[in-house]
């Protein structure tokens, strides 16, 4: 049986199981997901994916477990069967596990999470970028958006904290060359119109390519990169504008690196299902070397057709991708998430 047939069967089986379960429990949420994406780049011609997404179908299963004395455990499983049109037919299909975690409530102000989740660094853990064309610095900064491991997190009256210890391998479960990733973020309480955070990162991180968990994504080297970072991030909501920013500074082995991002989102007041986003982000791979930066300006828009369905488009211009020529790219997306 081919891999793609097996993957589709696994996804369908899990969806049926979880959705049946969802029908009987008010503690459970179940979402189906469809992601169709395509575009054109003047460097790569027709493309069937963005930096973090390919055509895919998947689901999210979310559940609260409660006893007589209240909630004590939360579970989340979010996965996609994806298709990468640039790969040959044997490698085109893959299973991506995004969220796969259990969180146990230890105390009022402390929860222990185990599984696959965001490292506690920068904007990524406080934003939902699972389906968006415009992303944070996480992919360039750490090398991936999620990793396998454990996390302690909680909220105190004046701030939130989270600290994680992970494998340093990203989407796939593997450990080489003593890889690990330790991250910590302390930030203002979630939900205010102004939010900000300070993050630290230290680790020996594996470099991989692709978003697959099974079969494992491509390991670019058996050697890890020693990473050290300090990061700042912030968000401010003012009327129809949402401003986002983050910056990270540190070392990759012996090289000094710096990244920064600035974004403004604008919701049309008269048509609030329509939003525009403008983002500039830059990642400097070696501060001692000229032209070692990857800088991109992106203009995006999203239009919510319904509670479940969103259309997105983004035009981006890469000013300078290290070792590559400039690139103009337009990507369109149909995204469904719901019943």
């Amino acid at each position: 049986m081919s891999l793609k047939i097996r993957l589709i069967r696994i996804i369908v089986f899990l969806m049926v199981c979880f959705s049946f379960r969802a029908a009987h429990a008010g503690e459970t949420l179940f979402y189906k997901e469809v992601n169709l994406i395509g575009g054109y780049s003047d460097r790569d011609r027709w493309i069937g994916k963005s930096s973090t997404m390919a055509n895919s179908l998947g689901f999210e299963y979310y559940r609260k477990f409660s006893g007589d004395y209240g909630d004590y455990l939360t579970a989340d499983l979010q996965m996609r069967a994806s298709y990468d049109s640039k790969m040959n037919s044997h490698q085109a299909w893959g299973l991506q596990i995004h969220n796969a975690w259990l969180e146990y409530k230890l105390l009022q102000a402390a929860k222990l999470k185990v599984g696959h989740f965001d490292p506690a660094f920068g904007l990524e853990p406080v934003l939902d970028t699972h389906a968006t064309l415009i992303q944070t610095l996480a992919e360039e900064d750490i090398g991936f958006k999620k990793d396998w491991g454990v996390e302690l997190r909680g909220s105190l009256p004046k701030f939130d904290y989270e600290t994680a210890l992970q494998l340093g391998s990203g989407m796939s479960i593997r450990r080489r060359d003593g890889s690990f990733l330790a991250t910590t973020r302390i930030g203002s309480p979630a939900g205010g119109n102004l939010q900000y955070g300070l993050s630290l990162l230290y680790g020996e991180v594996l470099q991989t390519e692709g978003m697959r968990t099974f079969p494992k994504n491509k390991l670019l080297s058996d050697d890890t990169i020693a990473k050290k970072r300090v990061g700042l991030d912030g968000q401010y909501l003012y009327g129809p504008y949402l401003f986002k920013t983050e910056a990270a500074f540190g070392k990759n082995d012996d090289k000094d690196v710096l990244g920064y991002l600035a974004e403004v989102d604008y919701t049309l007041p008269r048509y609030q299902n329509w939003e525009f986003e403008l983002q500039f982000h830059s990642w400097i791979n070696d501060l001692a070397e000229r032209s070692s930066d990857d800088s991109t300006l992106t203009l995006g828009t999203s239009y919510k057709l319904s509670q479940n369905t969103t259309l997105r488009a983004a035009y981006s211009h890469d000013f300078n991708m290290t070792g590559m020529k400039e690139e103009d790219k337009i990507v369109m997306q149909f995204y469904y998430f719901g019943a």
Partner: protein, 199 residues
């Protein structure tokens, strides 16, 4: 092309295969542990449940809610599939109150209105979890939000409100706040989470 056709076929199949799934959640607390303790300092825990208009009465309930609201529910953001999160606040094993929120369309974007109520549906606390208005500070100030403490759905239905608009140029957001709070109390009354499916 063949692959694309297969993907689309599979997707259509998957979309139709299940009937019990939910749409995106209406409004949840950003941090239930902190928020529950802040709103009910005497609490020892809470139970979360998700309830939809669809499962509690579908179109008939929707019509009833619209009659009480004296407005139609917005088809994109207030459709009957949207699950609302209810937090039953516990002291020991006993429920001592509820926390529940709704999304409400404002002048410049969405707002999230969270209220804590006692077992009779009286407002014990109200705050904006999200407020996209240039005059957000005035709305979020306790001198405004505290004016709703003690009110019930009855007061909204009978117009027994003496709350004044705190803004200069955002009357639309003030009206939206009143609509959202009224909707929140109507949903609480109709959903009756104490008898719901969280336990």
């Amino acid at each position: 092309m063949k692959t694309l056709t297969r993907i689309i076929f599979t997707l259509v199949f998957l979309i139709n295969i299940t009937c019990a799934a939910y749409a995106a959640v209406g409004c949840t607390l950003n941090d239930p542990d902190r928020d529950v303790k802040r709103l009910f300092p005497q609490s020892t825990g809470y139970k979360t449940s998700f309830i939809t208009i669809k499962e509690k009465g579908a179109e008939a309930l929707k019509k009833k809610i619209e009659e009480k609201l004296k407005d139609t529910l917005e088809p994109i953001y207030e459709n009957i599939d949207v699950p609302y999160a209810y937090y039953a606040v516990l002291k020991g094993k006993d429920i001592i109150g509820y926390i529940h929120g709704v999304n409400q369309k404002g002048k410049y974007g969405g707002m999230q209105l969270i209220m804590a109520t006692d077992l009779t549906g009286k407002i014990l606390n109200f705050y904006y979890q999200k407020m996209s208005s240039p005059e957000a500070k005035k709305f979020m100030d306790k001198s405004f939000t505290n004016q709703f403490i003690g009110l019930t759905l009855d007061d909204f239905m009978k117009g027994n409100l003496s709350v004044k608009d705190p803004s200069q140029d955002s009357h639309q957001d003030f009206q939206a706040t009143l609509r959202g709070l009224r909707k929140n109390l109507i949903l609480l009354e109709e959903f009756k989470p104490a008898e719901g499916n969280s336990r």
